[in-house]
């Protein structure tokens, strides 16, 4: 064993030196021999060639409890080994034989102690061996140390057997003297006596050797992790190296305990990676994360949490969560319950109540959504809590927008569905105003309709919130000019959205005053169209919810206004239809009434004289004709309005048509002695149109002229070419038409209210039919009149 040799080596050196000195003394034959050798603690004696003691020192005598005289002359093996033959491996015999010094360990039970014996020859002047100096050392202690080492090695073996630990002992030359559980690649026998770099020369083994060298030099233990890159993969060991000392404390080698931590390293690496992943995740996660200990004190904040709370990790650490995560209820403004307490107490996941607002350190407010969850160890014990929360400002905004859009959709669809197959349009408009008011948060909403060329407006529909008094009856017959700024915007089709009435521009001074007088702070006004015509507006007062509305939202609301406009248009149509029906009924009933009355009279009264009798029958006859004529006109009207949308058009000479028309009404002209005059710019005026229809128009217009012209009056017909059109006018010398009736007379059943008209029978459809025919020719018809001086009907047709 190498360790033993180390120990021996030192002892031998010392021993050899002593032995040399003893020999010199002996050669010198000096008297000082006894003195010197008696002081030596080793056994020293000189023997002759026959193994007989010549000289013995005191130590040797004391050990044998003999006096020198008792020993001198006696043979050493008789005294020491109690034998008649020399000890088998006695070095003395070897020295005698080869005349060289020898050292041998002798363990003779007869001696009682293990001895290290060194023998050196003594020569005379001739070089002959005269004796042998014999030094014996008691090596009991050394033997014991060696035994201890052996025992401890045994202990290591026992302890480390089967463990993932390699235990080894290397000597000062860094050679293995013992190893347990060696690398699987090596046969243990092949390891003993080798150095690490001889086993495998790599970074790991170099590091291991340096470690051992360091322990030998510094004589203190150390510990490190060494990774060996082997072909079969990398292995990592936690290596503890301790100096190995002998009993005297000298470092004689190094014990190394290498723990295979490859798996642990792998796990650690995986953990590190997962931690890194976790920390990266925490950082990059959009949510704020705060972790606390079991007492609810903050131990960690991620950067989002730092941003939202305004607290830095360093400041926040150790502080109670309540202080860092200062939350209140959005609605009540009171502190909100922090869920962490329940999380820690019950170990459950707890979400925050809705409408929670976080107040940051600097006072900023963020609406947040969050939840708290317990952190448990692998045994399920709660070791802390984690709060995850996020700023839901954007989310809330988006939610608001979606909510609003849905409200819009709901409102609009409810409005539109109400208008499908209307029953009572006013009721539906009122309901729509209510819906739109709720949507915009208005306190009052209203519909105004214009009339008289938009000069006047009336509040026709109104909705008021509770405790808001209706104004509708105070808002009739208002001049539009009082809201001129407003009107200008409406004319441009713009929505008027006034978020703050007090900030209205100077040009809206009138409106501002009016609105402020009514304590209206904000306002929304939508133009209302009937067909393509601006017909009025829908307004909303104190629109508290429209603050955040976008132009898109307003555009959506405009749809509602459009729906109402359509409904009003339909209402107007419907009213027109029922009015028409009512007019037709009235027009039919009137001649029928006469026919029935006179018939009844003739049946009831026998004494009707023959003149009256004839008169009544003539009336019945006339009224019957009137009825027939009316029915024919109604059929014409239906054809014009619904059928025959395309007439056969051809170039036709206007003068011919006029002549034919005059021929038709000639009896009437003659009857009233009317003078007919003509102004013709050319003889050849060709229009593109339907001759029959144009004749119908002319007969009608000339007929009217005759009706309203007194006897012997004058009718002037003018035909002229104007650019690419032909203009025809028929002027009478009748009583004329009031200015405000000039357009109405072309409406259905609109008969002039005057005494002359009362006397002439008419259907109320003539001019209306004329207008329809001319417009189908892509022409125009209108009337002109200067009160009292007659009327003039003019129509224009495109030239062929």
């Amino acid at each position: 064993m190498t360790s033993k040799k180390i120990k021996e080596a030192k002892g031998e050196q010392k021993f050899a030196a002593a032995s040399e000195a003893a020999v010199k003394e002996a050669e010198a034959g000096g008297k000082e021999w006894a003195k010197t050798f008696d002081a030596i603690t080793d056994f020293v004696f000189i023997q002759d060639k026959d193994f007989k003691f010549v000289k013995v020192n005191k130590t040797f005598c004391d050990a044998l409890k003999k006096k020198p005289e008792d020993l001198i002359g006696k043979k050493c093996y008789e005294i020491l080994h109690k034998s008649d033959k020399p000890w088998p491996n006695c070095p003395l015999a070897k020295t005698l034989k080869d005349k060289r010094p020898h050292t041998e360990e002798v363990n003779d039970p007869n001696i009682g102690v293990p001895l290290l014996i060194s023998t050196s020859p003594l020569f005379d002047k001739k070089g002959e061996v005269t004796g042998i100096v014999h030094i014996a050392k008691d090596i009991t202690e050394r033997k014991q140390a060696e035994e201890e080492l052996r025992k401890s090695e045994e202990r290591f073996r026992v302890v480390m057997k089967g463990s993932p630990i390699i235990v080894a002992i290397t000597n000062r030359e860094l050679r293995y003297v013992w190893i347990q559980n060696p690398y699987s690649d090596f046969d243990p026998e092949a390891v003993i006596g080798k150095r690490d770099d001889e086993l495998a020369d790599n970074e790991g083994t170099q590091q291991l050797m340096q470690l051992k060298q360091q322990v030998i030099e510094r004589e203190v233990g150390t510990r490190t992790e060494i990774t060996f890159l082997l072909l079969t993969g990398s292995l990592t060991y936690d290596v503890t190296a301790e100096p190995l000392r002998d009993t005297s404390g000298r470092v004689i080698g190094v014990t190394t305990v290498a723990l295979n931590i490859t798996e642990r390293k792998k796990a650690e690496e995986a953990l590190r990676k997962s931690e890194q992943w976790f920390s990266t995740t925490l950082k990059s996660i959009g949510d704020a994360v705060i972790a606390t200990d079991t007492k609810g004190n903050v131990i960690f904040l991620n950067s989002i949490a730092e941003f939202l709370t305004g607290w830095k990790q360093e400041e926040a650490a150790g502080k109670p969560l309540n202080k860092i995560l200062n939350i209140i209820n959005e609605k009540t403004g009171k502190p909100a319950k922090n869920p962490i307490k329940r999380v820690l107490r019950e170990g459950v996941i707890v979400g925050l109540a809705n409408h929670t607002v976080l107040i940051a350190k600097d006072g900023k407010r963020y609406p947040i959504a969050d939840s708290g969850a317990p952190i448990k160890d692998d045994k399920g014990k709660i070791i802390g809590a984690v709060m995850v929360f996020r700023d839901i400002t954007e989310h809330k905004k988006a939610e608001e927008i979606i909510k609003r859009k849905l409200e819009f959709e709901k409102t609009i669809s409810s409005i539109s569905s109400r208008f499908i197959g209307i029953f009572d349009i006013d009721h539906v408009i009122n309901a729509s105003l209510r819906d739109m008011s709720i949507l915009s948060g208005a306190s009052r909403s209203y519909l105004f309709l214009f009339r008289n060329n938009k000069e006047v407006m009336d509040n026709t529909h109104e909705w008021c919130a509770k405790r808001v008094s209706p104004q509708i009856n105070n808002l009739k017959n208002l001049p539009s000019a009082m809201v001129s700024w407003w009107m200008k915007k409406l004319y441009k089709g713009k929505i008027i959205h006034i978020k703050d009435v007090s900030k209205l521009p100077q040009e809206a001074k009138a409106e501002k005053g009016m609105l402020q007088k009514q304590n209206i702070k904000s306002l929304l006004v939508l133009p209302l169209y009937i067909g393509e015509e601006l017909a009025g507006f829908i307004g909303f007062d104190n629109v508290v919810k429209t603050e955040e509305w976008s132009d898109d939202d307003l555009a959506l609301l405009r749809i509602s206004s459009g729906i109402i406009g359509n409904a009003l248009e339909r209402k107007k149509d419907d009213e027109g239809k029922s009015e028409f029906l009512s007019n037709v009924s009235h027009a039919l009933r009137t001649p029928l009434t006469s026919i029935k009355s006179f018939t009844e009279i003739l049946l009831k009264y026998k004494d009707v004289n023959s003149v009256e009798h004839r008169k009544f029958l003539a009336t019945i006859n006339n009224e019957t004709d009137r009825l027939t004529h009316l029915i024919n006109k109604l059929l014409d009207l239906d054809k014009i309005e619904h059928g025959e949308s395309k007439w056969k058009s051809a170039p036709c000479n206007i003068l011919n048509i006029i002549q034919n028309s005059i021929n038709e009404v000639d009896p009437l002209i003659k009857e009233k002695n009317i003078v007919l005059k003509f102004n013709l710019s050319s003889q050849n005026l060709i229009a593109n149109g339907n001759e029959d229809k144009l004749k119908e128009v002319l007969v009608n217009l000339i007929g009217n002229a005759i009706k309203f012209t007194p006897s012997k009056g004058e009718i002037r017909i003018t035909v002229k070419k104007k650019k690419e059109t032909i203009e025809v006018s028929i002027a009478d010398t009748g009583i004329g038409i009031p200015r405000d009736e000039l357009t109405n007379i072309f409406e259905r059943f609109n008969r002039l209210d005057n005494s002359i008209n009362r006397k002439v029978t008419g259907t109320g459809l003539g001019l209306y039919i004329c207008k329809q025919i001319i417009e189908k020719h892509e022409g125009k018809i209108w009337a002109e009149s200067q009160g009292g001086k007659g009327s003039k009907f003019i129509f224009v047709l495109p030239e062929a």
Binding site: R589, T593, K596, S597, N754, N757
Partner: protein, 126 residues
């Protein structure tokens, strides 16, 4: 015996002709007006026992005539029978609200008209 005075208001000459013929035959004195204004004027001047009033009249319509007569102390007691080609329930309701005593739609039965007139005249005398 004084003849009861009846004012007939209609813009259609053949209707005034037929009604006046019948009423004269039945012993009434007949006055005729052809528009609303004339009707109000003649009612005030003549204070007839009863008015047969059309609705669709020139100048001012029958409803307006009715309103004006009811608003006047002198004329408000005059019985009014509406005789109109307007057969809408709406018109009938409006006429009733204005306090007319009868509502007859054209074309009418002479006997119906006569019975309404007789009833009206008789009630007016109570």
């Amino acid at each position: 015996m004084n003849k009861k005075k009846i004012l007939i208001v209609d813009d259609d000459t053949s209707i005034t002709l037929s009604i006046s013929f019948v009423l004269e035959k039945e012993g009434y004195a007949v006055i005729i007006a052809v528009d609303g204004e004339e009707a109000v004027k003649k009612a005030k001047e003549e204070l007839p026992h009863l008015i047969v009033l059309d609705i669709m009249l020139p100048k001012i319509n029958g409803f307006e005539v009715c309103k004006r007569l009811k608003a006047n102390v002198q004329t408000r007691e005059i019985r009014i029978i509406m005789l109109t080609a307007k057969g809408d329930e709406k018109d009938k309701r409006l006429a009733e609200e204005l306090g007319v005593n009868g509502y007859i739609t054209k074309p009418f039965d002479i006997d119906t008209l006569l019975s309404e007139i007789r009833k009206g005249v008789a009630n007016g005398e109570k």
